[in-house]
Symmetry: D2
Subunit: 430 residues, 4 copies
């Protein structure tokens, strides 16, 4: 995920709330890293993932680069090398350290990164008290916090992958024990119509924020459709596997089947079979696969193949947004502490819409009509990602609370599996 521009720039109202949010969000990042040793925090298990330490530094670099350096008079940067080391941006802000080599950054040591965070946090605290600066920086602070929340999710997602590469299969935390219950999949019917999609302007307060790619609001015509009232479970996915799901190209997109063959996929990522039973690696170590929990760590290809096998389809991102519950958002998000999807509760509306697993939609990630990327470096990389990726909706069990909403558009390539990604079915009416 990139760090896109905020979608609007109207006046900001609530400084105290934002400052509190700043303190809380910055502290959460450190708290997430706490169970990890300095050695853990340097791990980079694949080019797409980043070390914990890098996430801690890069989110700090964001505040330093886009707020302190342009707006804090007399600010001295912590270390000029950091602009090169912790910059994820191609172009607007100078050269950057090659992404696949982030795991080579044993220096600067973790302690320096901690000092970097403190240094920047203090400078930010002072600047946020500055009445003259506040109106200018307010939208950037809000953006920086949402950017950091994205990296909090990635921090957990990436460290899960890194720990899974260790044959000791170490746990990040102890498991929370939850009762798991079966529950039928139901359907919600929605009528045809010309609907409005996307997020309205006026989003500078932290809680009213949206990324620029969630707008502009625009009209979309939708035919009548149905959408499943919960995510697809491991049990349902095991039936697909048992029916030869991974053994014949019948239900797969052509490039999906090529991937199955090239990578030798036979199950979701992190699953392994032991004595005939399926186990999966979680942030609490190896666990037996629970048939009632949502299936997780599947690619778009697998989600699409499953839907075809089931005689259904994936929802479009518009259908999903229209069907999703509005405020207040609730669900099995990071704050619930599971860091793993849990079984659906009793039937009532669209269950598991927020949290648990990101839900692949059948929509390619494209800019909304009328979208223009903001000028300059802060916004430059939003438009950069818009090709060959699919939209996911609803957040997951590692999405920070307060970060997700109905209009949120996440996006990944169709083969990506290391995100907490799952499946919700949809269908045409009639």
């Amino acid at each position: 995920m990139s760090a896109p521009a905020p979608a609007g720039d109207s006046g900001h109202t609530d400084r105290a709330a934002t400052m509190a949010q700043f303190t809380e969000t910055r502290a959460l990042s450190l708290r997430l890293a706490e169970p990890l040793s300095p050695e853990d925090q340097i791990l980079q298990s694949m080019p797409d993932a980043s070390p914990t330490k890098w996430h801690l530094a890069h989110t700090t670099w964001f505040f330093e680069t886009f707020i302190l350096k342009p707006h804090a008079a007399g600010y001295t940067e912590f270390d000029p090398d950091y602009n090169y080391l912790f910059n994820s941006y191609y172009n607007g802000v100078g050269e950057r350290h090659p992404r696949p080599q982030r795991g080579m950054l044993s220096r600067p040591p973790l302690d320096d990164i901690h000092r970097y965070r403190e240094y920047v946090d203090e400078a930010m605290a002072a600047l946020m008290e500055d009445n003259a600066a506040w109106p200018v920086i307010a939208p950037l602070v809000t953006l920086g916090l949402h950017h950091e929340q994205q990296h909090q999710e990635l921090l957990l997602t990436d460290i899960k992958h890194a720990l899974s590469c260790n044959s000791l299969k170490p746990a990040y935390q102890d498991a929370l024990m939850v009762p798991t219950v079966p529950s039928e999949m139901g359907w919600v019917d929605i009528d045809a119509g010309l609907v409005e999609i996307g997020h309205h302007a006026g989003n500078e307060a932290f809680n009213d924020f949206a990324f620029d790619n969630e707008g502009p609001v625009h009209k979309v015509w939708l035919e009548a459709f149905r959408i499943a009232d919960r995510a697809v479970t491991n049990g349902e996915y095991l039936a697909f596997m048992a029916d030869g799901g991974y053994r014949s190209p019948d239900h797969w997109l052509s490039d999906g089947w090529d991937m199955v063959c090239a990578e030798g996929w036979t199950a979701p990522l992190y699953w392994e079979q032991r004595d005939g039973d399926w186990w999966q690696f979680t942030l609490s170590g190896m666990r037996s696969v629970d048939p009632n929990e949502p299936v997780c760590h599947v690619s778009y290809y697998e989600a699409d193949a499953f839907a075809n096998w089931a005689g259904k389809r994936l929802p479009t991102e518009f259908e999903w947004e229209l069907a999703a519950p509005g405020h207040p958002v609730s669900g099995n998000l990071m704050g619930a502490g599971h860091l793993h999807p849990v079984s659906a509760g009793e039937r009532s509306g669209l269950r598991q819409a927020y949290g648990d697993v990101w839900e692949w939609t059948g929509s390619a990630y494209r800019p909304y009509p009328g979208f223009r990327a903001a000028a300059g470096a802060v916004g430059e990389y939003n438009g950069k990602f818009m090709s060959g990726q699919m939209v996911l909706k609803g957040g997951s069990c590692v999405t920070p609370d307060g970060h997700i909403r109905a209009t949120y558009r996440n996006f990944f390539p169709p083969h990506a599996r290391w995100q907490f990604s799952g499946i919700r079915l949809a269908d045409d009416q009639s």
Copy 2:
């Protein structure tokens, strides 16, 4: 391109016309191969391309497999091995020869392929006279002919690539000399509204045919937009190049820029610089790049980057379809004999909409709402291709006459450049 199912199955009316079309289409394939020696016809210069000989055989296999074998009583297949050798389908119709190895098929010799075509054509002629069989096979014949037309375009597209790999840069044909004239780019304004997109059923006559992916007809809301009245020229593209188009990531999609760097792109495919001037390989050999001709052999990435650089955008496939002229279709298609795009004529409506170059749209190739792939092998591969590809519209200078229409949806991966693909700009109104 695959061989999708016909979009409908209503009654067929004009047998004589179809039979004439059969004769003509089948003869055209051989005529296209005529300038090529048996040695030329076995060339396969990359896995995505196929040898001329393979195109000749595969299109014949289609009629044998889907029409003669199921519907011609007592039909004896020409050679049982051919089902394996000339089958492009994954699954429904048995194993197939690996695609990247098609250039290894020196046997069967070209003479045998010619005999195969005659054998099948004779059997088809007899079967089409059969009054009982006709209603059943009519839609399949029409489908088979449109399938063969797709391969006629590919035959020229693929042999162009193959000949370009020979350092002698041999010509496929002599160039037609045409006067080339500069012409301003104008704009066509179109109002907002809820429009219908796609092809209506009732398409079994050859001229009323559409592939299944062109339907169902469905409503789309479009905001007011503008669309350029001609394709982008080489001259305009040279200005992009001169302005550092290929030297900085500014205007590029992230994966587009990665491709520029990885492949070392500095110009469209087939261009090379000699003593400071740009030349391009054409089906008539090397030619100086003409500033008035449409730029051709650019990827979606290049088309998108050019549009960003120009402060515009690509049209969506819906905008393109809405703006395109209706019947009768005309333009610089294969029949014009240039086999190369030509400069736009005098201003009048949407010039160069059909023929010259396929025009990349900003739309990812996805099924239309309500689309379901037809059951069975004939239709099975349409849905298979719907991921990570972009829609192109309008046909090119190597598209057979009669094969293109406003609803036609071509699609290729965003990095593909060996098709005759170019650029038309669009913009929001206001």
Copy 3:
């Protein structure tokens, strides 16, 4: 194989014999290509292999470039492009067509290559009659003929690979039927001593020729050893396979085992199992694997692993040369017409030393002490190949008669399998 310089330059005596040899060798190349269609002759199935047509042209280019152009007054080259197209040399003689793209050379057509051969042969015939030129060109003619013989072997070796890629498994020729008989492996004992290795100078007559890498003659100390009196058979190799030869790393070199795993090797090249029986592709099509024939198309890795498994080792190139029978050379060479190894005859000395299969030795291909590459283009590529390759001895069933001798050093990378390469065992005495 490259085209090394002749090892000496003493006076040449027998012009008539050389001219006869010229006629015969040049005619043999065409005869070898005769069963192949123009389409067959353009096939290139892997970068290491070349099309038949290229072999025909390249061997001709050698005479034109190194003899006619420098030594035939007033000679006009056939086509200036050919120097680029048919040059296999990096450096001394200008740019060259990229090796992996040789299969793209549909133009010039085969007919032109035939005319090229005639044109050069005529010019050569005239030049060889020239008394003044003869002493200068004689060693080059001899070299050119041995160079052409190398390519005759490659022509058959490469076309075998190309035809094997066609699922029709077409035959190059009909099989010669030969009785096949089992025969024990015996051993020949050889004493320790300081021996002379390599070819003496005075090699300009065709029959006394040697490549430069066969000299200088030099002393080598050898301990007492034993060498098997015939090649390892398919039957013996099948026992290795049955004992898990390809299933555990026990007997393999480290990089050999990596290759087994990466390539999924489970048998020699061209072998496939049908209903539990092993078949192999030959120049006469698919045949059942005969337990009495020498195993063929194994890599050095497989040869070495087999020897380890058998509790033996491969001979060094010095041991092999010392043990080999002297003049006259005889065996199952190309002239015997089998183009496939045959079972060993009755026991008598070192059977199958010449012909049947090239025998991998345990010697890395390095220059002999005192070796210096000849200056200039003719010799430049001999030294170029001396790294990471292993020496093979004795020729094969596709080696032209008259081309092989005890001092001949062939060399290929340890993973190469498409040559007609097999195994002879050796052991220390005591």
Copy 4:
């Protein structure tokens, strides 16, 4: 480098000396790791290199696996997982952690590895006091210590590569300042003769040890030759570069030139040009290239190309061994503390034979005549590496004192450059 079997098994005499050596060698490994943080010690910058932590653990695993577990009654292994994690052996001792994934081992933490070392050292100390066990384990202890010395060199070699990947170019230690002086290259002449090569048995005392691949002693015939009396300098190598050394294939082996082109080599590894001057990364950070120091971090390909350019050749491993000074070994080894090659001293015999840089020889790494790999796991991997690698002689500035001798055979693939490898020239007499 692997851990080969000791070359002999005669009676062992000096227990106290070995125990002292044990203490010293084990302590040295920790001392080498001391300047490195836990984060540094997990770095793995390429599959061929290993993290510092892994070296510390693997050398300990060796003593546990081959001495304590079989020979210390009642020994309890430290952690059963370690056999999998820190085993570098394919086959004899169970499964192992994939080599390219060693950098993922954040767990067990470094502290555990330190405890592991203490635990094993204590058990070893006790076992070595055991009179009954001593005769059995003595040769294994000696082997284990030489094995650990190999890994001490690799530890420095690998961390140099890892630190070089950090754009901060951090130093491992401060540089020792040494005066650098120019010195002519002289030549040493050696007569022809039948010589003995290799290490005699009786090698169980630490100082009389040799690896099995250094034997058996065998006779080799050598012609008269000359060998340079010092290593090639940076200044001499810069002349090669200035003469277009990396810009034309003239002096290169064919596969060497392919590597130059594929990798874009223009200088030795770790060199970079800044404002026209050449700098190199060292264990003391970036330094200007000193023309008097030996050139270092060149591949065999570069060494061979340089020698050809200079009109000389590389020595064979036999020539090198014959020419090398005998006991006592001295030179710029690890103990000198430079960890970087230094300029040659005044002329006297074969300078820089030991230490400074490993010297590529023209000999492929093959077993000596009569060599048989020892049975069982300790010895199993010696023979495994004998293909496609070249022999290096003499040790380097990171070779532990006491580890090198004239008969020592190091070996690496011809493209390897991350070792401290350089060049010594040789030539034929006459």
